[in-house]
């Protein structure tokens, strides 16, 4: 719905700028300074959007380079990151599951969100979809496959691929094998450390539980899907 409201408001705003001078007319003339300002405005705003996208991207590259550990530091131990997370009093762990996109369809609670939010949050891992944390104003700080939290480098969790999707960061597992090493294929438990208000965390936890219940209730569907995937 947000998308359509945005387009409707944007359409009205755009149309007003085009129609008013043609229909109503503009009395007097604009000052040269205002003309120059309006002339430069589109480039400035587009450049701002480009800068907002490009500089954080460059920062992620720098951070990725910085993670090439200094001599003597143990592999996988990113002390600064851990300390930063621990300083956040609101950081909480929320379980999430790996579900196939097809499996999620037909579930009322997910269908409600699916139209836009799940689609935005889904993240392909092999042929499957990491469907989690849909459309909530939370920020994912860290994702780890259960039981392997101590070795994030080995999991190849691409920390430089954090994406802001509807205010939710979704990280990609770099290798399909990482997902398949999880606890079975029915529910691959992930650990999500994220920062958000307590009520948001509660809602997200409930969403994750819904997904987990869904997968647990229909393991044969997921198995069939995964079998087809492996066979294909």
């Amino acid at each position: 719905m947000t998308v359509w409201i945005a387009f409707a408001l944007g359409g009205v705003a755009t149309y007003a700028t085009r129609a008013l001078p043609l229909v109503v007319g503009v009395r007097g003339s604009l000052s040269p300074s205002l003309r120059r300002y309006l002339d430069a405005l589109p480039i400035a705003i587009i450049a701002a959007l480009a800068g907002a996208g490009a500089l954080p991207g460059a920062q992620r590259v720098v951070q990725a380079l910085a993670r090439l550990e200094p001599a003597g530091e143990q592999r996988g131990q990113r002390a600064p990151d851990r300390a930063r997370l621990e300083r956040r009093p609101e950081a909480r762990d929320v379980g999430a599951v790996l579900v196939h996109g097809d499996l999620a369809r037909g579930h009322a609670a997910l269908d409600e969100r699916r139209a836009r939010e799940l689609r935005l949050a889904e993240d392909h891992v092999g042929g499957r979809v990491l469907g989690l944390l849909v459309g909530e104003p939370a920020r994912v700080e860290r994702v780890a496959v259960a039981g392997r939290r101590g070795d994030p480098e080995d999991l190849a969790l691409a920390h430089d691929r954090v994406e802001g999707v509807s205010g939710v960061g979704v990280r990609r597992l770099a290798h399909r094998a990482d997902a398949e090493r999880g606890r079975g294929f029915v529910v691959v438990v992930e650990t999500i450390e994220m920062t958000a208000a307590a009520d948001v965390v509660e809602r997200l936890a409930a969403t994750v539980d819904e997904i987990r219940s869904l997968v647990a209730a229909h393991p044969e569907r997921l198995e069939r899907l995964l079998g087809r995937e492996r066979g294909g």
Binding site: G10, T14, G53, R119
Partner: protein, 221 residues
């Protein structure tokens, strides 16, 4: 040659480009999470290329409707100037006709139309034909791109997830006409990037873009 045919003969390279850019928009919109209908709806309702790219960039970042609409308004404020320039040539038309002509007013339609008028012509058919064809090309391109974009799996393999930023950079590069534009763009880009790194919202970033030209204008005095 009739004004309509002249519009096609003179404007086909622009129309072709519009279709190609429309395809790009459709692909990016799809990869930003919009459905085919939403992508096409954007092109039908807003019909303003640069601001549509900005809108999907903002929506991808999780911006709200007001933020997106405000950004679209800021980007399209220049149409006030274009429409005011066209007003002398539409004085003989009805209000309904003017409303229709306003809908197809884009940068390209303005450039082609005002060029036609400045060559001494007074008929509006040239402008109306070109604007309508441009609308058709843009929307057909969007639809094709949205359908094609839906078939792309793991878009990051093709770098499409960075394509919106790259498209913004291309729009800026193509839009630079004076040295001052470069200064404005660099200031806006750096300030917005710094704000983003500091955790600012997308609206703050866009406002930084709106303020950058003021800084440059004040510096000239």
């Amino acid at each position: 040659m009739s004004p309509a045919r002249t519009a096609v003969a003179e404007g086909w390279p622009v129309l072709l480009t519009s279709a190609v850019v429309g395809i790009t928009f459709g692909v990016l919109a799809r990869q930003s999470g919009l459905s085919v209908i939403e992508a096409s709806g954007s092109s039908v309702i807003v019909f303003a290329g640069a601001s549509q790219f900005a809108a999907i960039g903002l929506l991808r970042e999780g911006a709200g409707a007001i933020e997106v609409a405000a950004s679209v308004l800021l980007i399209n404020l220049r149409h006030l100037l274009m429409a005011a320039s066209l007003r002398p040539y539409v004085t003989g038309t009805s209000v309904a006709q003017r409303l229709g002509l306003a809908y197809i007013l884009t940068d390209e339609a303005f450039a082609m139309g005002i060029g036609h008028f400045r060559r001494g012509h007074r008929d509006l058919l040239y402008y109306a034909t070109f604007g309508t064809l441009l609308w058709a090309c843009w929307n057909a391109g969007t639809l094709a791109g949205a359908i094609f974009g839906a078939g792309l799996e793991r878009p990051e393999r093709y770098g499409i997830d960075f394509a919106i930023t790259a498209t913004f950079l291309a729009i800026v590069a193509l839009g630079v006409r004076h040295r001052e534009d470069i200064v404005v763009a660099v200031i806006a880009g750096l300030v917005a990037g710094a704000l983003r790194l500091a955790g600012a919202t997308t609206l703050a970033v866009v406002i930084a873009g709106a303020v950058a030209p003021i800084v440059v204008l004040l510096a000239r005095r």
